[in-house]
Point group: C2
Chain length 228, copies 2
Amino acid sequence: MMDAADWAVVRRSTMFRTTDEAKLRDIIGDRSPRTHPRGQVLFLQGDHIDGLHLVVSGYVKLFRQTEDGADAIVGIHGPGQSFGETAALLATPAHATAETISEARILTIDAERLRTRLGADPDLAFAMLASASMHLRSMVDELERLKGLPGPRRVAGFLCDLAGLDEGSAAFDLPYEKSLIAGRLGMTPESFSRALAKLRDRGVTIDREHVRISRVENLRDFFEGEAA
Amino acid sequence: MMDAADWAVVRRSTMFRTTDEAKLRDIIGDRSPRTHPRGQVLFLQGDHIDGLHLVVSGYVKLFRQTEDGADAIVGIHGPGQSFGETAALLATPAHATAETISEARILTIDAERLRTRLGADPDLAFAMLASASMHLRSMVDELERLKGLPGPRRVAGFLCDLAGLDEGSAAFDLPYEKSLIAGRLGMTPESFSRALAKLRDRGVTIDREHVRISRVENLRDFFEGEAA
DNA sequence: CGACTACTTGAACAAAATCAAATGGGGTGG
DNA sequence: CCACCCCATTTGATTTTGTTCAAGTAGTCG
């Protein structure tokens, strides 16, 4: 079932943060999050998807397999984020494969039901539109980073986002494996490792998955393009 | 004013292709496309935007200026495509600068009016949601290409898209300057030029802006990862 | 005709990928 | 409990790819 913590995540999710509680309960119906072990494939590229997937806890990676075997990570979604919106809403085949990269609890919202509510409720549609727009915007940002910035800067940006602070020191754990982070940032694990090494003399300490940043503002300056 | 050809473009636009004619006329109101000379800045990153911009003819580039002076091209929009949706709908500042890269006719749809119609009309909201989703999807594709593929392959993909065919031979003109295409594909003009040269022995002929592809399926195979 | 611009080409250089090997936990079975 | 293995990560050496800087070519427009 869905406990208070779960419910809080759903309420504050990107997709539904502006949706009022009664409506949200109605949309969800009697569904509750389902727990998946790490490494479980939720759907395959090309599958028909029955609903919108909302991550309640854990992480899911979305990737596309290219002809030559390598897979390109298209996104990694954590608590409060959703995926499969397009496929569910438009009833088109999934355009990436989804696989859990940690134990994860996923709430699946029935596509048919969502479509009905959407048709009846302009506010909801508007909220989702806003959410999609923000998603689009973040995608554009990522595109820009990927194009313009050298590896270490991208890593710096990623760490700053994780820190969630603008200044001072921060300590946190990496949310998932380094090789996956590397893939998400569009580089190889080796390059990622070297990039981290380069950030060491900018006040970033890495021990296993534990990260400490002495002065976030320093790192952000570097990310945004200060001189060495 | 808006002639039949203009109207056809708007009707088939990504955003409004599923909207019925009466509603569309109502949304547009008495506005008509405005002609802009090449190189005109439509709005600046950070500006407040009064409406959604729909390209009727010509091309517009969207780019962001990075701290270090260089500008990253975030998208190039041609006939039937729209931009500024997010900023207009959510009344947030524009997050990129828009500049025409050819003479262009742009239809601006009043944001306030759009919001009202959207609230009153679930079908319209749904259509826009679908459009946003597709946009998102194309963004993801682009992200994937950019991450995974070496230059020449990206160029091959771009050319295949332009060809609009799956097989046989194709001949067309590049829609805008090569240096801009290069920027869009995340590379320098020099690299783009060299990439084109490499595609020559795969049946691609370039003369000025005229392109001829002898066998599109060959090129697509290469793009998708065949051996040399 | 001449200057401008876009594009191409070349050479040196920098960044990142690849290949290969070493390190170091964490977990398993004895 | 300990030895051992497995796997993620790091590190090193090498090669590929793409950028930068510089020069040359060609088409265009005044």
